[in-house]
Protein backbone atom coordinates (compact mmCIF):
# COMPACT_ATOMS: atom_id res chain seq x y z
CA UNK A 1 0.00 0.00 0.00
CA UNK A 2 1.30 3.41 -0.91
CA UNK A 3 1.02 6.54 1.17
CA UNK A 4 -1.10 9.37 -0.23
CA UNK A 5 0.68 11.37 -2.90
CA UNK A 6 0.25 14.75 -1.27
CA UNK A 7 3.03 16.88 -2.71
CA UNK A 8 3.04 19.48 -5.44
CA UNK A 9 4.88 19.28 -8.72
CA UNK A 10 7.86 21.37 -7.63
CA UNK A 11 8.46 19.24 -4.59
CA UNK A 12 8.03 16.05 -6.54
CA UNK A 13 10.56 17.18 -9.09
CA UNK A 14 13.00 18.29 -6.44
CA UNK A 15 12.79 15.01 -4.59
CA UNK A 16 12.98 12.90 -7.70
CA UNK A 17 15.98 14.88 -8.86
CA UNK A 18 17.62 14.32 -5.52
CA UNK A 19 17.15 10.56 -5.69
CA UNK A 20 18.46 10.44 -9.24
CA UNK A 21 21.39 12.60 -8.23
CA UNK A 22 22.30 10.23 -5.43
CA UNK A 23 21.96 7.18 -7.67
CA UNK A 24 24.05 8.65 -10.47
CA UNK A 25 26.60 10.04 -8.06
CA UNK A 26 27.07 6.62 -6.54
CA UNK A 27 27.33 4.94 -9.92
CA UNK A 28 30.10 7.31 -10.86
CA UNK A 29 31.82 6.83 -7.51
CA UNK A 30 31.80 3.12 -8.13
CA UNK A 31 33.27 3.63 -11.58
CA UNK A 32 36.03 5.87 -10.22
CA UNK A 33 36.76 3.29 -7.56
CA UNK A 34 37.25 0.63 -10.22
CA UNK A 35 39.69 2.99 -11.90
CA UNK A 36 41.61 3.38 -8.65
CA UNK A 37 40.77 7.06 -8.40
CA UNK A 38 38.81 6.53 -5.23
CA UNK A 39 40.36 4.22 -2.68
CA UNK A 40 39.85 2.92 0.82
CA UNK A 41 36.35 1.79 1.69
CA UNK A 42 33.45 3.00 -0.43
CA UNK A 43 29.90 2.33 0.76
CA UNK A 44 27.20 3.06 -1.79
CA UNK A 45 23.71 4.25 -0.97
CA UNK A 46 22.10 2.78 -4.08
CA UNK A 47 18.69 1.35 -3.23
CA UNK A 48 18.18 3.44 -0.13
CA UNK A 49 17.63 6.79 -1.84
CA UNK A 50 14.03 7.19 -0.71
CA UNK A 51 15.13 7.38 2.90
CA UNK A 52 17.51 10.30 2.48
CA UNK A 53 15.27 12.02 -0.05
CA UNK A 54 12.15 11.34 1.97
CA UNK A 55 13.52 12.59 5.26
CA UNK A 56 16.22 15.20 4.79
CA UNK A 57 14.30 17.70 2.65
CA UNK A 58 11.76 17.89 5.49
CA UNK A 59 14.44 19.67 7.50
CA UNK A 60 15.29 23.33 7.54
CA UNK A 61 18.68 24.53 6.43
CA UNK A 62 19.92 25.02 9.95
CA UNK A 63 18.81 21.64 11.22
CA UNK A 64 21.58 19.11 11.67
CA UNK A 65 22.12 15.80 9.97
CA UNK A 66 24.42 13.21 11.49
CA UNK A 67 25.27 10.12 9.49
CA UNK A 68 27.54 7.12 9.36
CA UNK A 69 30.07 5.96 6.75
CA UNK A 70 27.37 5.29 4.14
CA UNK A 71 26.99 9.02 3.95
CA UNK A 72 27.09 10.30 0.38
CA UNK A 73 23.32 10.22 -0.04
CA UNK A 74 22.70 11.99 3.25
CA UNK A 75 25.35 14.59 2.48
CA UNK A 76 23.97 15.39 -0.96
CA UNK A 77 20.44 15.56 0.38
CA UNK A 78 21.51 18.07 3.02
CA UNK A 79 22.85 20.26 0.26
CA UNK A 80 26.53 19.44 0.08
CA UNK A 81 28.09 20.36 -3.22
CA UNK A 82 28.50 17.19 -5.31
CA UNK A 83 31.82 18.56 -6.54
CA UNK A 84 33.22 18.90 -3.04
CA UNK A 85 31.98 15.44 -2.13
CA UNK A 86 33.42 13.82 -5.24
CA UNK A 87 36.69 15.65 -4.76
CA UNK A 88 36.82 14.38 -1.19
CA UNK A 89 36.23 10.83 -2.39
CA UNK A 90 39.13 11.31 -4.78
CA UNK A 91 41.34 12.71 -2.02
CA UNK A 92 41.74 16.15 -3.50
CA UNK A 93 42.53 19.51 -1.93
CA UNK A 94 39.15 20.82 -3.11
CA UNK A 95 37.30 18.08 -1.26
CA UNK A 96 34.98 18.94 1.57
CA UNK A 97 37.73 18.03 4.03
CA UNK A 98 40.61 18.86 1.75
CA UNK A 99 41.15 15.17 1.10
CA UNK A 100 41.89 14.45 4.74
CA UNK A 101 38.57 12.84 5.59
CA UNK A 102 37.59 10.55 2.73
CA UNK A 103 34.31 8.93 1.80
CA UNK A 104 33.46 7.79 5.33
CA UNK A 105 34.19 11.15 6.94
CA UNK A 106 32.26 13.83 5.07
CA UNK A 107 31.52 17.13 6.79
CA UNK A 108 29.93 20.39 5.77
CA UNK A 109 29.15 22.44 8.81
CA UNK A 110 27.86 25.35 6.70
CA UNK A 111 25.12 23.05 5.45
CA UNK A 112 24.39 21.48 8.82
CA UNK A 113 25.86 18.20 7.66
CA UNK A 114 27.68 17.37 10.86
CA UNK A 115 29.45 14.34 9.70
CA UNK A 116 29.85 10.91 8.40
CA UNK A 117 31.09 8.71 11.23
CA UNK A 118 32.92 5.51 10.48
CA UNK A 119 32.83 3.83 13.86
CA UNK A 120 29.52 2.00 13.89
CA UNK A 121 27.30 3.64 16.50
CA UNK A 122 29.77 6.43 17.21
CA UNK A 123 27.52 9.08 15.73
CA UNK A 124 24.67 8.39 18.11
CA UNK A 125 25.99 10.09 21.27
CA UNK A 126 27.25 12.93 19.12
CA UNK A 127 23.78 13.43 17.71
CA UNK A 128 22.40 13.47 21.24
CA UNK A 129 25.02 16.05 22.19
CA UNK A 130 24.14 18.30 19.27
CA UNK A 131 20.51 18.04 20.29
CA UNK A 132 21.49 18.90 23.82
CA UNK A 133 23.22 22.05 22.58
CA UNK A 134 20.07 23.00 20.68
CA UNK A 135 17.91 22.59 23.72
CA UNK A 136 20.41 24.27 26.01
CA UNK A 137 20.68 27.28 23.71
CA UNK A 138 16.93 27.29 23.15
CA UNK A 139 17.36 27.10 19.40
CA UNK A 140 14.59 26.11 17.04
CA UNK A 141 16.43 23.25 15.44
CA UNK A 142 16.42 19.48 15.33
CA UNK A 143 18.95 16.75 14.74
CA UNK A 144 18.26 13.97 12.27
CA UNK A 145 20.50 11.02 13.03
CA UNK A 146 20.89 8.10 10.64
CA UNK A 147 22.17 4.68 11.60
CA UNK A 148 21.95 1.10 10.45
CA UNK A 149 20.49 -2.09 11.84
CA UNK A 150 23.99 -3.21 12.76
CA UNK A 151 24.56 -0.12 14.89
CA UNK A 152 21.52 -1.00 16.98
CA UNK A 153 23.50 -3.72 18.73
CA UNK A 154 26.26 -1.42 19.88
CA UNK A 155 26.19 -0.21 23.46
CA UNK A 156 26.26 3.37 22.27
CA UNK A 157 22.86 2.93 20.69
CA UNK A 158 21.38 2.14 24.07
CA UNK A 159 23.31 4.79 25.96
CA UNK A 160 22.43 7.49 23.46
CA UNK A 161 18.75 6.74 23.07
CA UNK A 162 18.37 6.58 26.82
CA UNK A 163 20.19 9.88 27.22
CA UNK A 164 18.05 11.53 24.56
CA UNK A 165 14.91 10.16 26.17
CA UNK A 166 15.80 11.19 29.72
CA UNK A 167 16.87 14.63 28.59
CA UNK A 168 13.96 14.93 26.11
CA UNK A 169 16.22 16.04 23.30
CA UNK A 170 15.14 17.28 19.87
CA UNK A 171 16.47 14.39 17.84
CA UNK A 172 14.95 12.08 15.28
CA UNK A 173 16.60 8.68 15.26
CA UNK A 174 16.18 7.28 11.79
CA UNK A 175 17.16 3.67 11.48
CA UNK A 176 17.80 2.45 7.96
CA UNK A 177 17.17 -1.25 8.39
CA UNK A 178 18.60 -2.76 5.23
CA UNK A 179 18.58 -6.19 6.89
CA UNK A 180 22.34 -6.59 6.97
CA UNK A 181 25.20 -5.18 8.94
CA UNK A 182 27.95 -5.88 6.47
CA UNK A 183 27.15 -9.52 5.65
CA UNK A 184 25.20 -10.74 8.63
CA UNK A 185 21.43 -10.82 8.65
CA UNK A 186 19.68 -8.85 11.33
CA UNK A 187 17.79 -11.90 12.57
CA UNK A 188 21.08 -13.47 13.51
CA UNK A 189 22.15 -10.52 15.59
CA UNK A 190 19.19 -8.68 17.07
CA UNK A 191 16.67 -10.08 19.50
CA UNK A 192 13.71 -8.47 17.75
CA UNK A 193 15.01 -9.33 14.31
CA UNK A 194 13.31 -7.15 11.74
CA UNK A 195 11.18 -5.23 14.22
CA UNK A 196 13.76 -3.07 15.83
CA UNK A 197 11.37 -0.14 16.19
CA UNK A 198 9.79 -1.99 19.09
CA UNK A 199 12.88 -1.42 21.17
CA UNK A 200 11.98 2.27 21.30
CA UNK A 201 9.41 1.29 23.93
CA UNK A 202 12.25 0.50 26.28
CA UNK A 203 13.01 4.22 26.28
CA UNK A 204 9.43 5.44 26.19
CA UNK A 205 9.90 6.85 22.71
CA UNK A 206 7.20 6.99 20.07
CA UNK A 207 8.25 4.88 17.13
CA UNK A 208 7.13 3.69 13.73
CA UNK A 209 8.21 1.15 11.18
CA UNK A 210 7.79 2.28 7.60
CA UNK A 211 8.49 1.23 4.05
CA UNK A 212 11.80 2.86 3.33
CA UNK A 213 11.45 2.26 -0.39
CA UNK A 214 8.43 4.54 -0.47
CA UNK A 215 9.53 8.15 -0.46
CA UNK A 216 6.07 9.41 0.46
CA UNK A 217 5.89 7.17 3.51
CA UNK A 218 9.28 8.34 4.68
CA UNK A 219 8.32 11.94 4.10
CA UNK A 220 4.97 11.77 5.84
CA UNK A 221 6.34 9.99 8.89
CA UNK A 222 9.31 12.30 9.11
CA UNK A 223 7.14 15.40 8.93
CA UNK A 224 4.94 14.15 11.72
CA UNK A 225 7.92 13.23 13.83
CA UNK A 226 9.56 16.60 13.28
CA UNK A 227 6.40 18.39 14.28
CA UNK A 228 6.35 16.54 17.53
CA UNK A 229 10.03 17.10 18.16
CA UNK A 230 9.88 20.81 17.37
CA UNK A 231 6.98 21.14 19.77
CA UNK A 232 9.28 19.90 22.54
CA UNK A 233 7.97 16.37 22.60
CA UNK A 234 11.43 14.82 22.75
CA UNK A 235 13.02 12.20 20.55
CA UNK A 236 11.23 9.99 18.04
CA UNK A 237 12.38 6.71 16.55
CA UNK A 238 11.65 5.67 12.97
CA UNK A 239 12.67 2.40 11.39
CA UNK A 240 12.72 2.55 7.60
CA UNK A 241 12.84 -0.89 6.01
CA UNK A 242 15.13 -0.66 3.03
CA UNK A 243 17.75 -2.52 1.06
CA UNK A 244 21.08 -1.76 -0.47
CA UNK A 245 21.24 -2.95 -4.05
CA UNK A 246 25.02 -3.28 -4.00
CA UNK A 247 27.44 -4.94 -1.65
CA UNK A 248 28.27 -3.53 1.75
CA UNK A 249 31.17 -1.72 0.18
CA UNK A 250 32.25 -1.86 -3.43
CA UNK A 251 34.68 -4.63 -2.50
CA UNK A 252 31.85 -6.91 -1.37
CA UNK A 253 30.42 -9.33 -3.95
CA UNK A 254 27.49 -9.83 -1.59
CA UNK A 255 27.40 -13.62 -1.77
CA UNK A 256 25.48 -13.94 1.47
CA UNK A 257 22.20 -12.72 -0.04
CA UNK A 258 20.09 -14.97 -2.22
CA UNK A 259 18.87 -13.76 -5.55
CA UNK A 260 15.23 -14.15 -4.59
CA UNK A 261 15.68 -11.69 -1.77
CA UNK A 262 17.56 -9.32 -4.01
CA UNK A 263 14.88 -9.35 -6.68
CA UNK A 264 12.14 -8.95 -4.12
CA UNK A 265 13.67 -5.64 -3.23
CA UNK A 266 14.80 -4.63 -6.69
CA UNK A 267 11.26 -4.47 -7.95
CA UNK A 268 10.70 -1.99 -5.15
CA UNK A 269 13.35 0.35 -6.55
CA UNK A 270 12.51 3.65 -4.85
CA UNK A 271 13.26 5.78 -7.88
CA UNK A 272 11.23 3.80 -10.38
CA UNK A 273 8.44 3.61 -7.88
CA UNK A 274 8.33 7.30 -7.16
CA UNK A 275 8.63 8.13 -10.84
CA UNK A 276 5.68 5.95 -11.64
CA UNK A 277 3.61 7.57 -8.93
CA UNK A 278 4.58 11.04 -10.00
CA UNK A 279 3.60 10.25 -13.56
CA UNK A 280 0.35 8.69 -12.40
CA UNK A 281 -0.42 11.72 -10.30
CA UNK A 282 0.52 13.92 -13.22
CA UNK A 283 3.02 16.05 -11.37
CA UNK A 284 5.73 14.91 -13.76
CA UNK A 285 5.75 13.94 -17.42
CA UNK A 286 8.09 11.75 -19.42
CA UNK A 287 9.84 14.93 -20.46
CA UNK A 288 10.33 16.06 -16.89
CA UNK A 289 11.93 12.74 -16.13
CA UNK A 290 14.17 13.00 -19.13
CA UNK A 291 15.08 16.56 -18.24
CA UNK A 292 15.95 15.56 -14.69
CA UNK A 293 18.09 12.68 -15.84
CA UNK A 294 20.02 14.87 -18.22
CA UNK A 295 20.48 17.63 -15.71
CA UNK A 296 21.71 15.20 -13.10
CA UNK A 297 24.06 13.59 -15.59
CA UNK A 298 25.58 16.97 -16.24
CA UNK A 299 25.87 17.75 -12.51
CA UNK A 300 27.58 14.47 -11.79
CA UNK A 301 29.85 14.73 -14.80
CA UNK A 302 30.87 18.18 -13.64
CA UNK A 303 31.53 16.83 -10.17
CA UNK A 304 33.69 14.06 -11.58
CA UNK A 305 35.59 16.46 -13.81
CA UNK A 306 36.07 18.86 -10.94
CA UNK A 307 37.39 16.09 -8.76
CA UNK A 308 39.67 14.71 -11.41
CA UNK A 309 41.08 18.08 -12.35
CA UNK A 310 41.65 19.22 -8.79
CA UNK A 311 45.05 19.03 -7.20
CA UNK A 312 46.05 16.59 -4.53
CA UNK A 313 46.43 18.19 -1.10
CA UNK A 314 49.65 19.99 -0.36
CA UNK A 315 51.79 17.70 1.79
CA UNK A 316 53.02 20.75 3.63
CA UNK A 317 49.55 21.10 5.16
CA UNK A 318 49.58 17.58 6.49
CA UNK A 319 49.83 18.63 10.13
CA UNK A 320 47.29 21.45 9.90
CA UNK A 321 44.10 21.12 11.88
CA UNK A 322 45.38 18.57 14.33
CA UNK A 323 44.97 21.34 16.89
CA UNK A 324 43.28 24.73 16.68
Amino acid sequence: MNSAFNIDADTAIELHRLMVLIRRFEEESSRLYMQGKIRGFLHLYIGQEAVAAGAIPCLRDDDYVVSHYRDHGHALAKGMDPRAVMAELCGKATGSSGGKGGSMHLFDVSKGFMGGYAIVGGQLPIAAGLAHAIKYREEDRVVLCFFGDGAVNEGEFHESINLAAVWKLPVLFLLENNLYGMGTHVEKTHALGKDIYLSADAYGLPSAQIDGMDLMAVRDTTLKALERIRAGGGPVFIEAMTYRFRGHSVADPSNYRDSKEVSFWQVRDPIARFQELALENEVMTGDTVKGINEEVDRTVAKAVRFAEESDAPDPNDIADNVYA
Binding site: Y64, S96, S97, G98, K100, G101, H105, F107, D108, V109, S110, M114, G115, Y117, I119, G122, L124, P125, I126, A127, A128, G129, L130, A131, H132, A133, I134, Y136, R137, G155, E156, E159, S160, N162, L163, V166, D320, N321, V322, Y323, A324
Partner: protein, 325 residues
Protein backbone atom coordinates in the same frame (compact mmCIF):
# COMPACT_ATOMS: atom_id res chain seq x y z
CA UNK B 1 48.87 34.67 49.62
CA UNK B 2 45.75 32.61 50.32
CA UNK B 3 46.19 28.90 50.68
CA UNK B 4 43.87 26.27 49.40
CA UNK B 5 43.89 22.58 48.57
CA UNK B 6 43.76 21.12 45.08
CA UNK B 7 40.09 20.23 45.47
CA UNK B 8 39.27 23.84 46.24
CA UNK B 9 41.45 25.17 43.46
CA UNK B 10 39.67 23.02 40.90
CA UNK B 11 36.27 23.92 42.29
CA UNK B 12 37.26 27.57 42.05
CA UNK B 13 38.18 27.22 38.38
CA UNK B 14 34.97 25.37 37.61
CA UNK B 15 32.85 27.95 39.42
CA UNK B 16 34.53 30.77 37.51
CA UNK B 17 33.84 29.12 34.20
CA UNK B 18 30.22 28.37 35.06
CA UNK B 19 29.76 31.92 36.26
CA UNK B 20 31.48 33.71 33.40
CA UNK B 21 30.47 31.69 30.38
CA UNK B 22 26.95 30.52 29.72
CA UNK B 23 28.20 28.02 27.20
CA UNK B 24 29.93 26.08 29.93
CA UNK B 25 28.08 23.23 31.56
CA UNK B 26 29.16 20.19 33.49
CA UNK B 27 28.03 16.65 32.91
CA UNK B 28 29.07 13.53 34.72
CA UNK B 29 28.10 10.75 37.04
CA UNK B 30 27.01 11.83 40.51
CA UNK B 31 28.38 15.34 40.20
CA UNK B 32 25.07 16.90 41.27
CA UNK B 33 22.98 15.37 44.03
CA UNK B 34 25.96 13.41 45.31
CA UNK B 35 28.37 16.31 44.99
CA UNK B 36 30.99 14.40 43.03
CA UNK B 37 32.68 11.14 43.93
CA UNK B 38 35.64 13.17 45.20
CA UNK B 39 33.49 16.06 46.44
CA UNK B 40 34.92 18.53 43.94
CA UNK B 41 31.50 19.73 42.82
CA UNK B 42 29.81 19.73 46.21
CA UNK B 43 27.19 22.46 46.25
CA UNK B 44 27.39 23.10 42.51
CA UNK B 45 23.93 21.79 41.71
CA UNK B 46 22.34 24.13 44.23
CA UNK B 47 24.50 26.99 43.06
CA UNK B 48 24.17 26.63 39.31
CA UNK B 49 21.04 24.56 38.79
CA UNK B 50 20.20 21.47 36.80
CA UNK B 51 20.88 23.03 33.44
CA UNK B 52 24.51 23.71 34.20
CA UNK B 53 25.31 20.71 36.40
CA UNK B 54 23.93 17.53 34.94
CA UNK B 55 23.84 14.16 36.65
CA UNK B 56 24.32 11.75 33.79
CA UNK B 57 23.35 8.11 33.52
CA UNK B 58 26.22 5.67 34.03
CA UNK B 59 27.19 5.65 30.38
CA UNK B 60 30.72 6.86 29.83
CA UNK B 61 30.64 6.61 26.06
CA UNK B 62 27.46 8.64 25.85
CA UNK B 63 28.75 11.21 28.31
CA UNK B 64 31.88 11.85 26.31
CA UNK B 65 30.15 11.51 22.94
CA UNK B 66 27.33 13.83 23.92
CA UNK B 67 29.84 16.30 25.25
CA UNK B 68 31.64 16.17 21.90
CA UNK B 69 28.34 16.80 20.12
CA UNK B 70 27.45 19.63 22.48
CA UNK B 71 30.84 21.19 21.81
CA UNK B 72 30.17 20.93 18.08
CA UNK B 73 26.86 22.62 18.73
CA UNK B 74 28.42 25.70 20.27
CA UNK B 75 28.79 24.82 23.94
CA UNK B 76 31.89 24.36 26.06
CA UNK B 77 31.22 21.19 28.03
CA UNK B 78 33.12 19.94 31.02
CA UNK B 79 32.62 16.21 31.20
CA UNK B 80 33.60 14.38 34.35
CA UNK B 81 34.55 10.76 34.04
CA UNK B 82 34.58 9.59 37.62
CA UNK B 83 37.94 7.90 37.28
CA UNK B 84 40.36 7.33 34.44
CA UNK B 85 39.71 3.61 34.74
CA UNK B 86 36.19 4.14 33.43
CA UNK B 87 37.48 6.26 30.59
CA UNK B 88 38.34 2.97 28.90
CA UNK B 89 34.62 2.66 28.25
CA UNK B 90 34.69 5.97 26.41
CA UNK B 91 38.01 5.43 24.68
CA UNK B 92 36.43 5.31 21.26
CA UNK B 93 34.70 8.64 21.71
CA UNK B 94 37.88 10.18 23.05
CA UNK B 95 40.27 8.81 20.45
CA UNK B 96 38.18 8.32 17.31
CA UNK B 97 35.87 11.25 17.77
CA UNK B 98 36.95 14.08 20.08
CA UNK B 99 40.57 13.92 18.96
CA UNK B 100 39.98 13.55 15.24
CA UNK B 101 37.01 15.70 14.28
CA UNK B 102 38.96 18.86 13.67
CA UNK B 103 41.36 17.03 11.38
CA UNK B 104 38.85 14.92 9.53
CA UNK B 105 36.67 17.95 8.88
CA UNK B 106 39.73 19.93 7.87
CA UNK B 107 39.15 22.54 10.51
CA UNK B 108 35.39 22.93 10.14
CA UNK B 109 34.75 21.45 13.55
CA UNK B 110 36.12 22.46 16.93
CA UNK B 111 35.70 20.35 20.02
CA UNK B 112 36.30 22.66 22.98
CA UNK B 113 35.80 19.99 25.58
CA UNK B 114 37.44 19.42 28.93
CA UNK B 115 37.29 15.89 30.26
CA UNK B 116 38.06 15.91 33.95
CA UNK B 117 38.99 12.60 35.41
CA UNK B 118 40.56 11.16 38.53
CA UNK B 119 43.76 9.22 38.15
CA UNK B 120 46.18 7.08 40.06
CA UNK B 121 46.51 4.51 42.76
CA UNK B 122 47.47 4.51 46.38
CA UNK B 123 44.00 4.28 47.84
CA UNK B 124 43.88 0.49 47.96
CA UNK B 125 41.13 0.37 45.39
CA UNK B 126 42.49 -2.69 43.65
CA UNK B 127 43.44 -3.49 40.09
CA UNK B 128 40.46 -2.07 38.23
CA UNK B 129 40.48 1.23 40.09
CA UNK B 130 44.12 2.28 40.41
CA UNK B 131 45.36 2.96 36.92
CA UNK B 132 46.98 5.85 35.06
CA UNK B 133 46.32 5.98 31.33
CA UNK B 134 47.84 9.40 30.68
CA UNK B 135 50.68 7.86 28.63
CA UNK B 136 48.16 6.43 26.19
CA UNK B 137 46.17 9.61 25.94
CA UNK B 138 49.26 11.74 25.45
CA UNK B 139 50.13 9.70 22.37
CA UNK B 140 46.90 10.58 20.58
CA UNK B 141 47.24 13.46 18.10
CA UNK B 142 44.43 15.90 18.69
CA UNK B 143 44.26 15.51 22.47
CA UNK B 144 45.95 17.60 25.11
CA UNK B 145 46.79 16.03 28.44
CA UNK B 146 47.10 18.02 31.63
CA UNK B 147 48.49 16.59 34.87
CA UNK B 148 48.67 19.18 37.66
CA UNK B 149 50.47 18.38 40.89
CA UNK B 150 49.51 21.29 43.15
CA UNK B 151 46.72 23.82 43.74
CA UNK B 152 48.38 26.66 41.85
CA UNK B 153 48.84 24.61 38.71
CA UNK B 154 45.48 22.93 39.06
CA UNK B 155 43.69 26.27 38.88
CA UNK B 156 46.01 27.85 36.34
CA UNK B 157 45.96 24.88 34.02
CA UNK B 158 42.23 24.43 34.38
CA UNK B 159 41.70 28.01 33.26
CA UNK B 160 43.86 27.36 30.24
CA UNK B 161 42.02 24.12 29.52
CA UNK B 162 38.69 25.88 29.69
CA UNK B 163 39.75 28.49 27.18
CA UNK B 164 41.30 25.95 24.81
CA UNK B 165 39.45 25.07 21.63
CA UNK B 166 40.64 21.48 21.58
CA UNK B 167 39.72 18.49 23.69
CA UNK B 168 41.71 18.41 26.91
CA UNK B 169 42.09 15.53 29.32
CA UNK B 170 42.40 17.08 32.74
CA UNK B 171 43.74 14.45 35.05
CA UNK B 172 43.35 14.90 38.81
CA UNK B 173 45.22 12.57 41.12
CA UNK B 174 42.99 11.28 43.91
CA UNK B 175 45.74 11.57 46.49
CA UNK B 176 46.45 15.18 45.62
CA UNK B 177 42.98 16.59 46.31
CA UNK B 178 43.91 17.34 49.89
CA UNK B 179 47.32 18.82 49.10
CA UNK B 180 47.54 22.50 49.94
CA UNK B 181 49.46 25.39 48.50
CA UNK B 182 49.35 29.07 47.73
CA UNK B 183 46.95 30.35 45.14
CA UNK B 184 46.88 34.05 44.33
CA UNK B 185 43.63 35.95 44.37
CA UNK B 186 44.61 37.74 41.18
CA UNK B 187 43.73 36.05 37.96
CA UNK B 188 46.49 34.04 36.30
CA UNK B 189 46.75 31.14 33.90
CA UNK B 190 49.35 28.44 33.59
CA UNK B 191 49.99 27.90 29.91
CA UNK B 192 50.19 24.43 28.41
CA UNK B 193 53.58 23.10 27.41
CA UNK B 194 55.54 24.96 30.04
CA UNK B 195 57.20 22.70 32.56
CA UNK B 196 58.16 24.11 35.93
CA UNK B 197 61.55 23.86 37.52
CA UNK B 198 60.27 23.15 40.99
CA UNK B 199 63.66 23.05 42.55
CA UNK B 200 67.08 23.84 41.19
CA UNK B 201 70.02 21.52 41.46
CA UNK B 202 73.21 20.49 39.76
CA UNK B 203 73.77 16.78 40.09
CA UNK B 204 70.74 15.16 38.61
CA UNK B 205 67.45 16.11 36.98
CA UNK B 206 64.28 14.48 38.29
CA UNK B 207 61.30 14.71 35.94
CA UNK B 208 57.78 13.92 37.06
CA UNK B 209 54.15 14.76 36.49
CA UNK B 210 51.01 14.57 38.55
CA UNK B 211 51.64 13.09 41.98
CA UNK B 212 55.08 11.85 40.95
CA UNK B 213 56.25 15.45 40.61
CA UNK B 214 55.58 15.78 44.33
CA UNK B 215 57.34 12.51 45.05
CA UNK B 216 60.31 13.68 42.99
CA UNK B 217 60.39 16.89 44.96
CA UNK B 218 60.32 15.05 48.26
CA UNK B 219 63.05 12.74 47.03
CA UNK B 220 65.13 15.76 46.08
CA UNK B 221 64.75 17.20 49.54
CA UNK B 222 65.97 13.99 51.03
CA UNK B 223 68.81 13.72 48.53
CA UNK B 224 69.86 17.17 49.55
CA UNK B 225 70.55 15.92 53.03
CA UNK B 226 72.57 13.12 51.46
CA UNK B 227 74.75 15.56 49.59
CA UNK B 228 73.13 15.28 46.18
CA UNK B 229 71.69 18.36 44.56
CA UNK B 230 68.71 17.41 42.44
CA UNK B 231 66.84 19.63 40.04
CA UNK B 232 63.15 18.79 39.88
CA UNK B 233 60.95 19.41 36.86
CA UNK B 234 57.19 19.14 36.95
CA UNK B 235 56.02 18.62 33.39
CA UNK B 236 52.52 19.91 34.16
CA UNK B 237 51.24 18.86 30.72
CA UNK B 238 52.22 15.75 28.77
CA UNK B 239 50.81 17.13 25.57
CA UNK B 240 52.01 19.64 24.68
CA UNK B 241 55.28 18.45 26.15
CA UNK B 242 57.94 20.93 27.16
CA UNK B 243 61.18 19.15 26.42
CA UNK B 244 63.17 22.38 26.24
CA UNK B 245 63.06 22.87 29.98
CA UNK B 246 63.97 19.23 30.53
CA UNK B 247 66.84 19.33 28.06
CA UNK B 248 68.24 22.51 29.43
CA UNK B 249 68.36 20.97 32.86
CA UNK B 250 69.83 17.69 31.67
CA UNK B 251 72.56 19.52 29.77
CA UNK B 252 73.47 21.05 33.08
CA UNK B 253 73.21 18.02 35.34
CA UNK B 254 74.20 15.26 32.88
CA UNK B 255 71.90 12.85 34.64
CA UNK B 256 68.17 12.33 34.39
CA UNK B 257 65.53 10.30 36.18
CA UNK B 258 61.93 10.18 34.99
CA UNK B 259 59.37 9.17 37.60
CA UNK B 260 55.85 8.15 36.76
CA UNK B 261 53.08 6.11 38.30
CA UNK B 262 51.78 4.19 35.32
CA UNK B 263 53.19 0.82 34.37
CA UNK B 264 56.88 1.15 33.69
CA UNK B 265 56.69 -0.82 30.45
CA UNK B 266 55.21 1.31 27.72
CA UNK B 267 54.86 4.34 29.97
CA UNK B 268 55.49 7.93 28.99
CA UNK B 269 58.85 7.90 30.69
CA UNK B 270 60.07 5.92 27.69
CA UNK B 271 59.08 8.83 25.49
CA UNK B 272 60.73 11.42 27.66
CA UNK B 273 63.85 9.33 28.12
CA UNK B 274 64.07 8.73 24.38
CA UNK B 275 63.81 12.42 23.63
CA UNK B 276 66.50 13.18 26.17
CA UNK B 277 68.75 10.58 24.61
CA UNK B 278 67.99 11.83 21.12
CA UNK B 279 68.66 15.44 21.93
CA UNK B 280 71.21 15.47 24.71
CA UNK B 281 73.11 12.23 24.30
CA UNK B 282 76.52 13.78 24.44
CA UNK B 283 75.72 15.58 27.67
CA UNK B 284 74.73 12.43 29.50
CA UNK B 285 76.93 10.60 31.96
CA UNK B 286 74.77 7.55 31.57
CA UNK B 287 71.37 6.42 30.43
CA UNK B 288 68.25 8.15 31.64
CA UNK B 289 66.73 6.25 34.53
CA UNK B 290 63.04 5.40 34.50
CA UNK B 291 61.18 4.82 37.73
CA UNK B 292 57.68 3.60 37.04
CA UNK B 293 54.85 1.56 38.43
CA UNK B 294 55.47 -2.14 38.74
CA UNK B 295 54.18 -4.15 35.79
CA UNK B 296 51.40 -5.90 37.68
CA UNK B 297 47.68 -5.26 38.08
CA UNK B 298 47.49 -3.15 41.22
CA UNK B 299 47.03 -5.38 44.26
CA UNK B 300 44.62 -4.44 47.04
CA UNK B 301 46.62 -5.24 50.15
CA UNK B 302 48.41 -2.27 51.58
CA UNK B 303 51.82 -3.84 51.87
CA UNK B 304 51.63 -4.96 48.24
CA UNK B 305 50.25 -1.74 46.83
CA UNK B 306 53.09 0.15 48.49
CA UNK B 307 55.54 -1.82 46.38
CA UNK B 308 53.78 -1.02 43.16
CA UNK B 309 53.82 2.76 43.16
CA UNK B 310 57.07 4.72 43.18
CA UNK B 311 57.73 6.54 46.44
CA UNK B 312 60.51 8.64 47.88
CA UNK B 313 62.44 5.61 49.02
CA UNK B 314 62.20 3.73 45.78
CA UNK B 315 63.16 6.79 43.77
CA UNK B 316 66.21 7.33 45.93
CA UNK B 317 67.10 3.65 45.78
CA UNK B 318 66.98 3.73 41.98
CA UNK B 319 69.11 6.84 41.87
CA UNK B 320 71.52 5.15 44.17
CA UNK B 321 71.59 1.91 42.16
CA UNK B 322 71.73 3.34 38.72
CA UNK B 323 73.57 6.58 39.09
CA UNK B 324 75.61 5.78 42.13
CA UNK B 325 74.73 9.14 43.67
Amino acid sequence: MPRMIVREAIAKGLREALTNDNRVFMVGEDIGDYGGAYAVTRGFLEEFGEKRVIDAPLAESAIVGAAVGAAMGGLRPIAEIMTINFLLLAMDQVVNHAAKLRYMSNGQISVPLVIRTVTGGGGQLGATHSQSFEPWLASVPGLKVVTPSNPYDALGLLRTALSDDDPVIFSEHSLLYGVGGEVPDDYYEVPFGQAEVVREGDDVTLVGYSRMARVAEQAAEQLDGMGTSAEVIDLRTLCPLDMDTVLESVRKTSRAVVVEESWRTGGFAGEIASQIHEQAFDYLDGPVVRVGGMDVPSPYARNLEEKVIPNVDSVIAEIDNRLGL
